[in-house]
Amino acid sequence: MRALGLALAVTLLAPPAWAQPDHRAIASRTLDQVILPGTTAFHDAAEALVAAAPADCAAIAPEELRATFQATWDAWMRIEHLRFGPLEEGDRALQIAFWPDSRGTVGRTVERMLAAEDAVVDDPETFAQQSIGARGLPAMERLLYDDDGVVALEEPYRCRYIAAVAQDIARLAGEVHSGWHGPWAEHVRTAGEPDNPVFLAPAEVSQRLFDTVIGALELTARGRLERPLGTFQSPRPRLAEAWRAGRALRQIELVVEATDATLSASFVPELPEAAQATLAEAYAGLRQDLARVAEQGSLAEALTASRIRVEVLTQRTAGLANTIGLTVGPSLGITQGFNSADGD
């Protein structure tokens, strides 16, 4: 431990042997390779979901609707870590997928809507004002799946409600798309120029990307893994995200892919080879850990059959966030917050 600390101190003190990072290039690559195509893909997926979710039960092809729903959630997971700009404004990310939902808000709200057959589902504008628990991908999950699997799509109200949620997700996806392809692309590309109200320096875009990648992995370790892990005596598989739709492990897998894609577009080209290798190794290790959990079936099955593998995955996910912090941060002159790191 002592030797490791010393090695780290030396690494941090050593002057960078490579050129200063090009923060503008980092911003452009991330926009062009991740953010813009990702928000377009999510918007397209959400439009397809609307097409697959007519308000009339008789017109629904249930298998196709579920497949489209799963594809929309996949598309969402490729951009959901980008918690700034259009995803943060108006808390759109939470409107699209309210999570972590530690109070069980979504389940309760959807139950209440179904029981009351609330007619707000027939008016998109009023529906858009409803509680965050009544809308978004987790609400649709509750409408398409229950604790035992798929739900029959026969009650007229349920189908109207599903259509309303699909349209609301598409509305939000459209706002995210136009926000990113409009003013926010401009904010990112002109970071540090006078009159840019958001990014006061080109390095601030890098800082945001760095924070979002680390934040997504930390939140995944804590919320998507530690919570369902529970304790040895009482694991809590039903606290996993999206388990009813069979996505608990898929969510984690997609966070790993999305953060890797973002890092590869943004920081990796600016890093020295050794740092690139460190990151590649860390991601390869995590993918192996994920595969070893997936061998057991679902996350819930893995918790029963081989809890230790889930524990390893949890530690390695948090460890990856740490590795990225130590590898990317110093190389790019980025640090974690000064005021947020400790209290007053």
């Binding site: 700034f84 943060e88 808390d91 939470l94 309210f98 972590p100 530690s102 109070r103 965050i132 540090g192 006078p194 009159d195 840019n196 109200p197 958001v198 006061l200 320096a201 601030e204 800082q207 945001r208 924070d211 917050g337 000064f338 005021n339 947020s340 400790d342 209290g343 007053d344």
Partner: protein, 365 residues
């Protein structure tokens, strides 16, 4: 960012080296705000103009927290971060330390202080750590900051403190959390903590009003304060439960109210603040109040009469002060941003340093 001293200021200081500085704020560039900052491994105290430019930039011997600004002399008392045992009086004309305040034996400072209306007395929040009693130290600002005595703060862990517009009342944020220098910043009494906002008469130290959070929010440490021109107090809170609990972090109060009035928002909006409000400020006219959360990277603002909040996002944002009918905010990236009452931003400046927790208006806004 280097300090260029007006010639008159230099002469005035040079000619009165043996006596207390008599330089006025106008002579040191009339800074609108003061802020502590970190540059590399060094600490600074900056005076900032309304445009965010540095009008002075002075060294500090250790990490600062907040400062108390003398109402007339160009003099600031910079407090070390808790549990600091010293505060330094900085002559803002030349950066000279004109006096040092040492916490009496058995005491440490909490990082905030306030002057009396006439500038004759300085009050400091202190911990009598053997018993955990919160105390308010009293210092003679007219005679080289001699210790005059102290009085009870009305609770445990007094942090921020300010003088109300009546000039006779000190509002004290007793955070409720007991700490001891031997255990650093460790919280020793969470199971029993009872924060309160106490109103002390300057003249005799009498606590004439006191209020705490409702029982369900007992873990909401009352930490920082602001006051509107007509005497409405705003308190920024720090939740000692889980960050995602999404509890209110801003409370309003007047001395005669029986309860705090909490600023409401959707639980997920509050949860995004991570249970931590770092600073609080009213707009100049007192119609709106805002809190910052460096942990959430967010600012939330409300009308004082209630309603839904405005929200704006900026990483590591913490320092906040009134600027006309909006605010000015500082952050750990060295950024200074002006915000209107809807929190629409306008970038002012970016310095190559990290601004520490607080942005202190030179005059109570």
């Amino acid at each position: 960012m280097a300090l260029t001293l007006p010639r008159r200021a230099f002469l005035a200081t040079a000619g009165s080296a043996a006596v207390l500085p008599s330089v006025s704020w106008a002579e040191v560039g009339a800074p609108h705000y003061l802020a502590a900052a970190q540059v590399g491994e060094r600490y600074r105290l900056l005076g900032l103009g309304a445009d965010g430019a540095a009008v002075f930039d002075l060294p500090l011997p250790a990490r600062g927290h907040a400062a108390a600004v003398h109402p007339s002399r160009a003099e600031a008392v910079a407090f070390a971060r808790r549990p600091g045992r010293f505060a330094i009086v900085v002559d803002c004309a030349d950066g000279r330390i004109s006096a040092t305040l040492d916490a009496p034996p058995g005491r440490h400072f909490y990082g905030h202080g306030a002057f009396s209306a006439d500038g004759q007395r300085l009050f400091t929040t202190e911990n009598a750590y053997a018993t955990g009693d919160g105390r308010i130290g009293i210092w003679d600002a007219a005679a080289g900051y001699r210790r005059l005595g102290d009085m009870p703060s009305g609770g445990v862990g007094p942090h921020d403190m300010l003088l109300l517009p009546d000039g006779e009342t000190l509002a004290v944020a007793n955070g409720g959390i007991r700490t001891h220098p031997e255990t650093g910043r460790e919280k020793l009494n969470l199971p029993t903590m009872q924060p309160n906002l106490s109103y002390l008469r300057v003249a005799d130290g009498t606590v004439h009003a006191q209020v705490g959070p409702p029982p369900a929010l007992r873990l909401n440490s009352i930490r920082h304060l602001a006051v509107s021109p007509d005497g409405l107090v705003a308190a920024a809170l720090q939740w000692q439960g889980e960050p995602e609990d999404g509890v209110p972090l801003l409370a309003f109060h007047r001395p005669h109210w029986s309860e705090l009035r909490l600023a409401e928002a959707e639980p997920y909006q509050l949860a995004a603040m991570q249970g931590y409000a770092g600073s609080v400020a009213f707009t100049g006219g007192g119609t709106h109040a805002a809190i910052t959360s460096p942990r959430g990277g967010r600012i939330m603002a409300w009308r004082t009469e209630g309603g839904a909040p405005a929200i704006w996002s900026r990483p590591d944002v913490c320092g906040l002060a009134a600027a006309g009918e909006g605010w000015i905010a500082t952050d750990g990236l060295g950024g200074i941003v002006a915000l209107d009452e809807t929190l629409a931003p306008r970038a002012l400046a970016r310095h190559g340093l990290a601004f520490d927790n607080h942005l202190i208006p030179r005059r109570a806004a």
